[in-house]
Amino acid sequence: MNPFDCSGSPRHEEPADGRCPWSRFTSWLECVCVVTFDLELGQAIELLFPPDVKLTEKEKTTICYLSFPDSYSGCLGDTQFSFRLRQSVGRRASRSREDIYNRDAPVTLQKEVSHFCGYVYFRQVKDVTVKRGYFQKSLVLVSRLPYTHLFHSLLQIIAPEFFEKLEPCLETVCNEIDQWPSPVPGMTLNLPVMGVVLQVRIPSKTDKPGGSPVRQTSSENLLPFPTLLPTVHELDLFRSFQSVLIHLQMLWELTLLGEPVVVMAPSPTVSSETVLALVSSISPLKFCCDFRPYFTIHDPEFREFTTRTQAPPHVVLGVTNPFFIKTFQSWPHVVRLGEIRMTGDLPKQLKVKKLSKLKILDTKPGIYTSYKTFLHKDKILVKRLFKGFQRKRPSEVQSAILRRHLVELTQSFIIPLERYMASLMPLQRSVTPWKTPPQIRPFSQDEFMLTVDHTGPQLTSGLRGDWMGLYRKFFKSPNFDGWYRQRHREMSQKLESLHLEVVCDADLVGWTRDKSEVEIVDLVLKLREKLNKAHRQQLQLKDGVSDKLETFILSIIRTLPGDLQTELRTH
């Protein structure tokens, strides 16, 4: 955020510690909106905090449409769902790649760079005091953080209260959020709001994937006693996948490969939960394609995604509007979910159907695809989950089993790649102070494939099938590209750190002794540039490396003639 922009709203009091108003708030949320269904206009933003939040008109309109059901709006009561929207073109991209949070957070929980996440609490109830007798309003949290569970829990606390008391209540909540400590990976934080304290642990990159996230660590005496949220982001995977459990392997592969998938659901809630569950199913791998938990025909990308002139894009879309049945007829994979009845029975498992069957309007639930999985499905897992359901095993436990299975599957797939990638790193002894850091060897798919026979996924996974075929297809997907770039960046940074460390340990003063002025100035400039870059990229260096180099630069400058000294200091 521009430091000169922090005038904030006049009504938002300046915090006592002299911080910019809203600065802590913006580390959690972009803004809070109240969207109403105006009887004359339609969807319209009624309230916005912070009032001067920088959203383009297009972004505001999109938020409006995504905050309401776009079809079958008959649902009465309270409904919660999530959406994701692309930020407008021309907006300055946030520099999150170099953000400390993103450096330390798991890749799947990094802040969005060019999208916003929206978390909606929609209320539609009879209300005799308004014209036409219905209250139709949504409270929406917009954030760059994919903390689905935290934000929906927050909405459950604030939305009912807000709908009763309206504006003043929301302002108080925003002020409270502006007091929250910023999210720091690995930290357990207490977040007070409306008389309760939410305690959450922000996951860190160094957490063991699949480990239990619930840990009560704080022994502080907090009054009121904090409400522990077991997770900021995890979903009820079992609930989301309950009617497609037998196709889990297929869905995992489709997600891994970044295949175009449309989820047609009976409500925005089911649509968004399913899409988010799909995307999270390949964790700890980051899903690098676009995905929209709830997509409507009002979306600015409607034409882009539905054009027939090119192959369907690598996106996962969740929709509710039957209008889309026709639009997405030519898509390769369509998951059509039915109404889920709460009868205590496990919902009927969807069947795989031919795509040509999708050409009718009242199509039945099913997965419409011609995709054949590379790996065989894990029948034992499915049996275990079915049995667990019959024995009334709690949904959280079922979800944990499911999550563990998926994490192990993804890791089995990715570990051979990690191992091969690590072998591309130059030897540590080839990093010397007097040369530029060595290059990382290029990734060769063929060379990698040769390693699969001996050190492939069969070492950690019992699943049989065509792993090679799966890798080959994966290499063509944006998820591979994203993973490779991320790893490559990390390795380059590691090399850079190592280089700085050996430079630091080298006898630089000794080197300068018989060197010309030009060479010394060149060394100073190069070192400075390296340090700046390290600082910008938040490189993690051994203690003292940075200080020692700074001191060296200063002392070396002091040995130079006076005019050069001034020149170098002002630079």
């Binding site: 105006d38 009887l39 709006s73 007798g133 139709q136 050409k359 309007l361």
Partner: protein, 266 residues
């Protein structure tokens, strides 16, 4: 435009009160799509001889548009659910109802698209309008302004369609709230407008149910008639059914598409 339903799709039987055996009559002779007493002869013969081709498997798309709060959802709910709620909530986006009929012994479905009337909806709504066979523009007979906006709704809804292939209806709603004198005044204007834009005019009350069923039966019948005539025209000199009749005494056309889809059991 209509969408083909494969012959094998198992649909529930048509409700007995959705069976049409005779052409329902227009509401006002001055503004009717046509004023014949009966279904077109060709259509009757085709139905008798079961030469209606794929019409029986088609779903006609009907969109209902009009100003906000004129009672679009109430009109649809009265017909499809036989229910009326005076405080009906504003429709957000679009809702759908599927209504199945049997016309002259042939199954025929209307898919009714109920839309929001709000300003914000208009800019995007044209996407929904594409491929509509019937456009119903509703207005409130107690609100002259809503009648005034009919032309705009017409223009919007025809942008995405071939104007010559769309059947147009103008429906005055909330007739129960209007006195006879008031009503006859607005009816004059409505009839004039309907004639100008070649629409059929109706006036209904969703509260009392007056004319609601008659109206939708008329819509279904005219849509059906048009579909069968189009089908007959398409087959031209090579009359549909003929080929089958030579080889088969049962002359049941519905059975023939089955052969083309041998593996479609679900």
């Amino acid at each position: 435009m209509s969408v083909r339903v494969p012959a094998m799709s198992v649909l529930p039987p048509v409700r007995r009160d959705r069976v049409i055996v005779q052409l329902p009559q227009y509401f006002r002779k001055e503004a009717a799509l046509h004023t014949k007493d009966e279904f077109h002869n060709k259509v009757k013969t085709a139905c008798q001889e079961q030469r209606t081709g794929t019409v029986g498997f088609k779903i006609s798309k009907v969109i209902v548009v009009g100003d906000l709060a004129v009672g679009k959802t109430c009109l649809i709910n009265r017909f499809c659910k036989d229910a009326f709620d005076k405080n009906y909530k504003a429709t957000i986006g679009v809702d759908f109802e599927m209504e199945r009929f049997e016309v002259l012994g042939v199954p025929f479905s209307l898919q009714l698209w109920d839309t929001a009337g709000q300003e914000r909806f208009k800019c995007i709504a044209s996407t929904y309008y594409r491929g509509a066979q019937v456009v119903i523009i509703a207005f409130d007979v107690n609100d002259i302004a809503s009648l005034g906006h009919v032309r705009q709704w017409l223009e919007d809804s025809l942008k995405e369609n071939d104007p010559t292939s769309v059947q147009l209806f103008i429906v005055g709603t909330k007739k129960d709230l209007s006195s006879p004198a008031q009503y006859s005044q607005i009816e004059q204007d409505a009839l004039k407008l309907a004639q100008e834009i070649s629409a059929e005019y109706w006036a209904v009350s969703s509260l009392t149910g007056e004319n609601v069923k008659e109206f939708f039966f008329r819509v279904a019948s005219l849509a059906f008639e048009t579909n069968v005539l189009a089908e007959l025209e398409k087959s031209g000199s090579r009359q549909i059914g003929d080929v089958v009749r030579i080889n088969s005494t049962s002359s049941n056309l519905y059975a023939t598409p089955k052969k083309k889809q041998p593996n479609c059991c679900q």
